[in-house]
Structures are given as C-alpha cells and as structure tokens.
Amino acid sequence: MSAPILRALAFIGLAVLLAFPLLVAGAYFKFLLILVFIYSIVAIGLNILVGYAGQFSLRHAALMAVGAYGSALISISLGSIPVLAATGANVWIGMVAGSLAAGLAGAALAFPALRLKGPYLAMVTVAFGWMTWKVLLNWTSLTGGDLGVASIPSMRIGSRTFDIDAYYYFAGVAVAVAFLLQRNLARSDFGRKLRAIKHSEIAAASVGVDVHREKVVVFVLSAVFAGAGGALFAHVENFINPDDFQFYDSVFFLLAVLFGGAGTLIGPLIGAAFLTIAPEMLQDAERYRLIIFGVIILATLYALPNGVAGALLTRLPLEQAPRRSPRSGARSGGRAPALAAVAQRPILTVSGLAKAFGGVRALADVSLAVEAGKVHALIGPNGAGKTTLVNILSGYYRPDHGHIAIDGRRTDLHSLHHAAQRGVVRTFQNIRLFGDMTAREHVMVGAELGARSGMLDALFNTPRRRREQARREAIADELLALVGLAAHADLPGSTLAYGHRRLLEIARALAASPRALLMDEPAAGLVAGEIEALGTLILELRKQGLAIVLVEHHMDLVMQVSDVVTVLDYGQVISHGEPTAVQRDPAVIEAYLGGADLRSFTFA
C-alpha cells in the first residue's frame, strides 16, 4: 500500500472518529473506543521501548497501575482541599502526579537492570510486576486491597464534569498527542540513536552514545506513557482494582505492540484496537473465544513477524530517513578534526598494561605511545593480544595493571562511550552496523558527541532539534564523500557490499570527531583494489592530524601506511620501530614463521 492511499484512509478514519459521538447514541461503542484510546497510549509507550529501543517490559500493566492508583489516591486526597475540588484541579494534578510516579518507578527499575546484558530488564519487570501486585492486594489500608478504589472523581473543568462524550474527545486528543510525540521521536536523531542501540549497542557506544543512559531514558518515557494511560483509565472508570492490572493485561499490551507491528507508528493503535474490539465481537463464541484469539495472534506472529502495520507498509519503519538536503552540496575533502595545531606530544600512551582472563595472560607489560598525525601499526600472530589491547585502549576492558594516559594525563577509561568522549574511537574486526538504517543515518548517529539536543527536544520537535539534524546531515554528507560513499548515502547499510560496509564503519567512527582512531583489521575481507583505497584513506586521515592505530595482518598495507610498528607475541612487545626495521627483526620473523624471511611472505 502506498503512502497517499494510506493517508487518505487515515483521513477518512479520523473524520469518522471525530464525528462518532454525534452519529451514535448510547455509551457502549463510545466507551469501547475510549478504552481503545487509553490502551493505545500505553501501547505507544511500550512500542517506543520494544520497537525502537529493542527492550522488553513484561509487566507494563504494573506501570499503568502505578499511574492509575497514584492518580486516584492523590486526586481523592487533594479533593479535600476546597479550592482544588471546586475547580477540578485535584484530578488534573493527580493525573500528572500519577504519570510522573510511573516514570519514577520506571527509572528505579531500569537504572540497575539496564546496566546488564541479556534479558535482565525483562526479569526485573517480572519482579516489579509481582511486587506491585502484592502491594496492591495486601496493603489494604492504602490501596483498598482486592476491592480496590471506588468513587474516583471524574475529570472536571470548573463545575462541568466530563460526561462520556467529553471523555471520548479528551481521550482521542490524548492518543493523538501521544501519536505525534512518538512520530517526532521516531523522526529525530534521538529516534535514530535508539534504533542504532537496538541494532548494536556496542557499535553505538563506540561512537559516544551513552547506551545505558538512553535506555533508561526511553524506559522512563515509556513508563510515563503507561502511567498517563492508567491515570486516564482511573478517572474514566471511577473504579480500579488489582484485577485491571494483572499479568494478562501486560501480555495484552505486548501482543498489541507485536501484532500491530513493533517499531511502526500506527502499529500500537492497530494492535490495541484489534485486541480490544475483536473479543467483544466474538462474545458469542464463548469458551472457545480465548483459544481462537490466541491462535490468531500466534499465527500472525508467525506469518507477519513485522505485525500488521509492517506488512501493510512498503517501507519499515514509517519514519523517513533524511535524504540529501539541497543545501549541502558534495564538498570535496573532509573537514579538519578538532586539533588544529598538530602536537608532537603523544595523544595516547599506555604503560605497563597487563590483562589476564582467568588463567590466560593476554597482555603482559605492554607500553606504547601513539602520536597525532602518525599511523601506528600493531601486528603479531593470532592470539597475540592485539584485539585485547585495542579493547583496553577503547575502554571496553579495564587493564589489570598499568595505566592509560591521554594528552599526558592519566585516564581511567571505563566504557566504550567514555573513551569516545575522550577522543578515542574504534572500528571492529567483525563489522557492526545498524541494520537497515541508511548509510547517512549511520554517520548521523556517529555524530552523537557534539549533540546539544536531547529527548525532550525530539519529542516536541523544537528548533534546536532541527538544527541538530542539519548539523548531523552536513557532517554525514562530508564524511561519506570523504570515504567515497556519497552515491550510496540513501541505501540501507545492510545492502552495501562488504568493502563499502567497512568504509561506512570508518565514516561513522570519524563522525565522532576522534583524535585517535583505532582500526581493528580493516582490510580483512577486502579485495586488492579496496585495500588500496583504504590505504589512501588512511594516509588522508593521517594528513589531517588524526592519530591512527592499525591492527592488521596485511603486511603490504602495513608497510605502505605505517610510521611506527609494534609487534606483539603472547601478550608481550617483542619489537618496535620503523616498519622496515621491524620487518627484518629476527625476533619478529621467529614469532611468525620460525625462521623464514618476512619480506617474501604476505598474509592474505
């Protein structure tokens, strides 16, 4: 289905929804739609979490419960203050407070859990859901236990209480706002960042994305949505009890997101609508209803893994990737990195580094210095510790002994993104890209470190956000031109040829304005012509004053571009110096071959 048809359909649908209360008397359908709106708000929040950030919350209904109970209890107790009760402000305050409380709960959950790999967030949400359930049931003096909270005040403006029509329009507006916020987020650099994290946390971190912080932020946002939905729910129903927020309700929201299409904009709306309305229509099938339902859902998951919306749309996700803007022409050459004066003093120094994994000693007493405007090659047989060293230099591992200094100052690099902030960026032996995001988007994500606009700017589409996007687009276009990928800028990264993917990774790394670039076997898998182009690129970067550490097996390339070569074997430095000297060093020859002349040997 193409975009114009979809837009027309959406317009018609919107018109029907707007006119609905005037067309239909009676509360049954209106109420059903209000529920759909409320559930959609929660589903949108969950979609942002699951679809964009790739995280899982298995107990989102518990966050909705926090919003609902928070809003209900606060508005009831504030209702005893006359001025608030008279204006109906007690309910408005309650709803805001409830939503924020849910956000707080989300922060408390996500902060510890998201530091870890694996399904820990899902597990923590399970624990939280269980705990919430117990609190709701057992803390009867606060929550009313099983009998819940009754007589929750309806929303009011002044003396006018909301009737079902008013609730209908309010909920409709609320879900429209939620939808717009989601769309703003998806089309922003923040949204791109989230998708990048979903595809590869490590690659995102390597260019300066604070993955943990962003995951927490997204979870909190998702929790606020859930809490807002819950708060609205409480005041529409005027009665809540723990049965409304059970495990099965969390499953409902997850199903809504996945069935509708995770990572699409209208997916959560489709999912929430279907899952709310369909069972009502199937009332007469009685005891088989839940089974039919479950089977339909499984079949859809199986046959439509991208959900209904994903199947309907021609391109996933709905948000468009920025295309080349007419303003920025293709500028030749790159831009000069931050350091104008090329200091001779080494940018990156390590001394006495040691690292062991269990009983395996990967590095022992390694020291070297990397200077700006120089290419420092790191060679050695497999297992010599080269990648370990790169991992330490880029902050992924902490050394057991020894220290790292940047610009002469001792620094403790505690993570990939911390290293990137300090100017040390790396590429990977196994290329890590961001899936089907376009080449341009890749490099835009790489420009994270100069960002001045955050999630709130993204949500509300502020001018600052738009300036940020322009900045990143400009950087992306320049760097793609630099590495020779300008013609491929709008292609998904996953469709690029292997050699181009390498180049893309390098362009992305450069977007982080590194002062030291660590490249881990960039020539691996490249054909001769591509290796030559790579060499040219490296020399160009060297000319611009970048300090480059090059881990490589391709001796021709090493000889061609390096200023200094360090040779590792069994975790120790066995040789160091100019390329030709190292090439003739008997210790090096011994390590590689046990005797033969290195000159006549190339590693493919």
């Binding site: 049954y28 099983d146 009998l147 009737d163 129903e237 009665f239 009890n241 049965d243 009332q283 009685e286």
Partner: protein, 405 residues
C-alpha cells in the same frame, strides 16, 4: 445529557416481544463454573415461567455475556446488555469488584435493577444511593460480608460453645474483608482471636500457620479462602497430627469441588451457606434438584449460585407481574413482595424492603457439615448440633472436634 440519552435507549421493547433479563459473569476462565451455574439457574427459572405462559402474556429470555471476572469487561458488558440488548433486569456478576464498578452506573445512569447472587462485598448494597436516600437498584440474595461473619462467629461461640478462635484467612480477595468482619464480631462479643494467620494464593504448605494455632490453643480454625489452599491446610493439619483442630469456613469452599479435591481430608469440615442439596429436603426443592440432574445430567458445581439465580429470576417475574416491565417499576415492586417460598430462600416476611436489600438474614443462613462426601445441614436440639444423613436419622456432632459424638 449523555445520561438522558442512555436512559432513553433503555426503553423496553414493544409488547409481544420477549422480556430480557441479563447476566454478565465469568463464563470462561478459572471460576467459570459459577458463571455457568448461575446461567443454569436463570434458564431453569425462565423455562418454568414460560411454561406457565410467561409474565403478563410475554415470555422471558436470558441474555448472557462473558466478563471474564474482569471489572472493566463487566462495565462494557453491562453497557451492551442495557443499551443494545434492552434488558430490563439483571442478575449480578460473580465478582464483587465487578459489582462495585457497575453499581454507580446502575444507580445513577441506567437505573436498571440487579439482584446479586454470588458477591459478598457489603458496599455493593450499602452504596452511595442508599446512603443519600435515593432509589437503590442493587439487591442481593446470598451471603454478604458482615452478615456471614456475624453468623459464623455467633454459631461457633453460642451454638458450639467455642471461644478460642484462630483466624486463617486468604491475603487477597474476600479473605481480608472476612478477617476484618470476623475480628469485629468477635470484639462485639468481647472476644479476641487467639491466632491471626494469613496465607497467599497458591501456598501449598501451612506448617507455620498451623503450628502457631496449636501453640495458641485454638479450639477451631476459622477460614476464608478458596479450595486449593483449603486442601493444603487439611493436608498440613493431618501431617502435624493430633490434636487436629476442627475447621470452619465461609461459603467459598462449600461446593462439591471441595470433596472432589480433598476427599476424606475434608470430613468434618463445616461451612456456612444459604442452601444445601444433600440430605432430606423439602419436596419443592427436591423436585428442582431432580429436575436439574435430569436436564443437565451432572452434579452441582455450586448449589447456592444455582438456587439464588433461580430465586432472583422468580422474584423479578413476581415484580414484573405486579408492576409491568419498566425497570424503575420493577425495582419498586421488588421492595413490595410480602413473602416468598422459593428454591433457596423461604421467608414469611417481605423479601426486600426500602431499607433492607439483603434477601437473607442471619436466620436464613445455615451451617453444613461435610459428611462422607455430602454437605449436610447442621441442626440443633437439646443434645447439641446434629446432621441428618437420611430421613429420620440423626447423628450428633461433638462440638469440640466436629467429629461424631
């Protein structure tokens, strides 16, 4: 504005059509047995009424909706039943929380009467409308929270002579309501529970709780909970050995499923209830019991639900016969029924009055004892409590053990 529209759409159907009575309850899910039992009670009653020509020449019809024991769905279902199905009366849902959710809707918006048959919560009947003197559209047949607690405590203290009562209640659901009411009634009698223990859903071991009961010298364990945990209590009790403290419970486990699940372990257990179907019965009730077996070819899942639903429909038909089919008129007529001899409820005084919407009073409640798989009504004579396994045979019970004397 919307309320008026809603009320308008609840106009009863034209003469000649069927008159619809609605029910929204758990038709699927873990407690769906109750939903289906209520449906059967309504069906049997409607059949009997229609066989006699209906009410005022019009036939009755039952409309069922599944609310999955979920209050939100109950609200949706009620809107469906009232606005689109045009029901003029309702049998209440099986979930207290559901009824609490719909009570304001029925009293303030729709004004359609409902007789609850399986829900305990006091606030359903004693609601805002009652408190402010407006018309109360909620009625109840069956046990209710405070009344049941009064009945249990009074029976144990006054009829069985036991004063050291240990409470063992479910931490969720009606368990905590029960606990509060029981404690209240004990206090009114100048007593305190000697032990006050709780358990969680799905608990399989009650060792800690029962050991504490023993140490406190409890003469009887008073329980509010569901079957699964009750069986765990029985098993733990047997494991801990003599002396085995007798066990009395609310009507939550007074269903045949208890014996199916617990077998002999349940022997001697006493529950409160509003009706029994085992043992000698008055002939009218026996006729209905036989008709049930014949029509459905099964045993009861919950006799109380069945009979109360039956009685609810009967009472509606009496009210409709008197006052017509306007929901408000039906409501008013319910308060005017001078006496009723029904399947479950048998009273010679007005069933409901303006101030009393509980059909059952303490005098109508009973205790039943699980004897050999049968739930037999407990009677009292000069020698003390007894049960009648068959016509004319009296077996007395030892009040300190609940075993045979």
């Amino acid at each position: 504005m919307a309320a008026a529209a809603a009320a308008m759409s609840a106009v009863p159907a034209a003469a000649g059509d069927t008159v619809k009575i609605g029910f929204a309850g758990p038709m699927t899910g873990p407690v769906s047995a109750f939903g289906h039992e209520i449906e059967r009670g309504m069906d049997v009653a409607v059949e009997a009424i229609n066989a006699k020509g209906g009410v005022r020449g019009r036939k009755l019809e039952v409309v069922i909706r599944d609310d999955e024991f979920d209050p939100v769905k109950t609200v949706t279902a009620y809107r469906d039943l009232i606005e689109r199905q045009d029901v003029v009366a309702l049998v209440g849902s099986a979930n207290s929380a559901s009824m609490l959710a719909v009570t304001p809707l029925l009293n303030d918006n729709y004004k359609v009467p409902a007789i609850c048959v399986h829900t305990d919560a006091t606030a359903i009947i004693h609601n805002q409308a009652e408190a402010s003197g407006r018309d109360n559209y909620l009625f109840r047949l069956g046990m209710f929270g405070s009344g049941q607690a009064d009945f249990l405590v009074d029976s144990m203290v006054k009829k069985f002579g036991l004063t050291k009562i240990g409470l063992l209640t479910w931490s969720a659901g009606y368990g905590q309501i029960g606990r509060k009411e029981l404690t209240r009634r004990l206090a009114e009698l100048g007593l305190k529970p000697v032990a006050d223990e709780t358990f969680e859903t799905g608990d399989t071991d009650m060792t800690a709780q029962l050991l504490k009961m023993k140490e406190a010298g409890a003469q009887v364990i008073m329980h509010y909970g569901t079957i699964k945990e009750a069986v765990a209590i029985f098993e733990t009790r047997q494991k801990l050995g003599d002396p085995m403290i007798p066990f009395v419970s609310s009507w939550g486990i007074a269903v045949p499923a208890l014996w199916k699940a617990a077998g002999d372990l349940a022997e001697g257990t006493i529950d409160s209830n509003v009706v029994t179907t085992d043992g000698p019965q008055p002939p009218e009730r026996q006729a209905i019991i036989d008709a049930y077996h014949k029509k459905y070819n099964r045993e009861f899942d919950d006799p109380a639900s069945f009979f109360d639903a039956y009685d609810a429909v009967m009472l509606f038909s009496i009210a409709m016969d008197k006052a017509g089919f306007e929901p408000a008129a039906i409501r008013a007529a319910l308060e005017q029924i001078p006496s009723y001899r029904g399947a479950g409820l048998v009273v010679d005084h007005p069933v409901f009055t303006k101030d009393r919407h509980e059909g059952y009073s303490l005098d109508d409640m009973l205790l039943g004892r699980w004897t050999n798989g049968k739930f037999l009504r407990v009677g009292y004579d000069a020698e003390g409590p007894f049960v009648m396994p068959s016509e004319g045979v009296k077996k007395h019970i030892d009040p300190t053990t609940f075993g045979p004397k």
